[in-house]
Symmetry: C2
Subunit: 220 residues, 2 copies
Amino acid sequence: MRIGILGSGMVGRALATKLAGLKHEVKIGSRESNNPGAAEWVSTVGSLASQGTFAMAASFGEVVILCAKGDAALDVARQAGEQNLAGKVLVDVSNPLDFSRGMPPGLLPDLSNSNSLGEEPQRRFPSSHVVKALNTTNCEVMVNPQMLAAPTDIFICGDDEGAKRVVTDLLRSFGWERVVDLGGIAASRGTEMFLPLWLSLMAKLGTPHFNIQLVRRAVS
Amino acid sequence: MRIGILGSGMVGRALATKLAGLKHEVKIGSRESNNPGAAEWVSTVGSLASQGTFAMAASFGEVVILCAKGDAALDVARQAGEQNLAGKVLVDVSNPLDFSRGMPPGLLPDLSNSNSLGEEPQRRFPSSHVVKALNTTNCEVMVNPQMLAAPTDIFICGDDEGAKRVVTDLLRSFGWERVVDLGGIAASRGTEMFLPLWLSLMAKLGTPHFNIQLVRRAVS
């Protein structure tokens, strides 16, 4: 499959490397068409890898993954272009973290409680199929869930069932055995609002390499 | 120990019943001094149980537990009275859920992101020792964590180490083996903002009887 990655930071490069390792063709998009970090990544990964602008990556991908910083994500989606994302699965991995009011960070008020960063691109690009996924864990765990000591749960949500099947298959190929579908895209509110607890836990545990396992009632 | 419970709803009664079962003396506080639900609870539990106003329950308790509805909790604390809570451990179990803007509920904007329901009583009653605890799970799981199929984690935070030791001992007596201290009371932001995800999960799993287990990296 051809996959476009919107964002050349740590998360984007981790996902791009994993996807190329799984033999997908991957184009990383950045603000400029020749990003030094992305160029280095391309030279490391080889023939399945390429880079370009956000619009070029969106146009290239059959599936497009949005993994920009939270306060930039909507601008990145706008630069990617509605027509380049039309009819496609747009996987939103970003979190609307707000570091402007001190630590611990909260979420951007306009993108929490009664809205979310998952819902906004779906509202702006109604012909795309947005699936929120992977935003509740660290990027190294995202692409290697088996590094953890026990199976853990990863959440997806979105309004299109077919798009969620595509993303579920991708996550399974990463090694995620427990993909929990929380329903429509508004469930992004919950998975994004988990971030402040996640950040507390990272500080407490002294590592970003953890996740949560849902535990239900014992069968009696 | 003498324990005051601020709130006669499902959470308050579940905690009160468990605590009386552990041989603590428990007084449930309500808005009126003779609440019918609390009276029924007293008649069921017997000699270790009593009821009264919020102020009477706060005055009675060596430890006081705040478990009112989120939008009422600060008014309940005010009615309980600063002088009745001075020098005491105040365990805050409540969540600032906001059902006024449709489903799924978010949190009250003034009590999320850069503030929390755990921080407010600590700010208003600086001579009390507020510990946020138990707000990330259902009340039947709170008092019987062993009903779940595997050990799970429960979070506390607060500014006073001695108060956190008292609460940790209480939680251990309930059966919680994994009490995770997240630091100062501002960590309430994270445990409260977990609620929208918790509500999504309750809908998905079809039961409130679940919790999360933290899973770290496998030891290699």
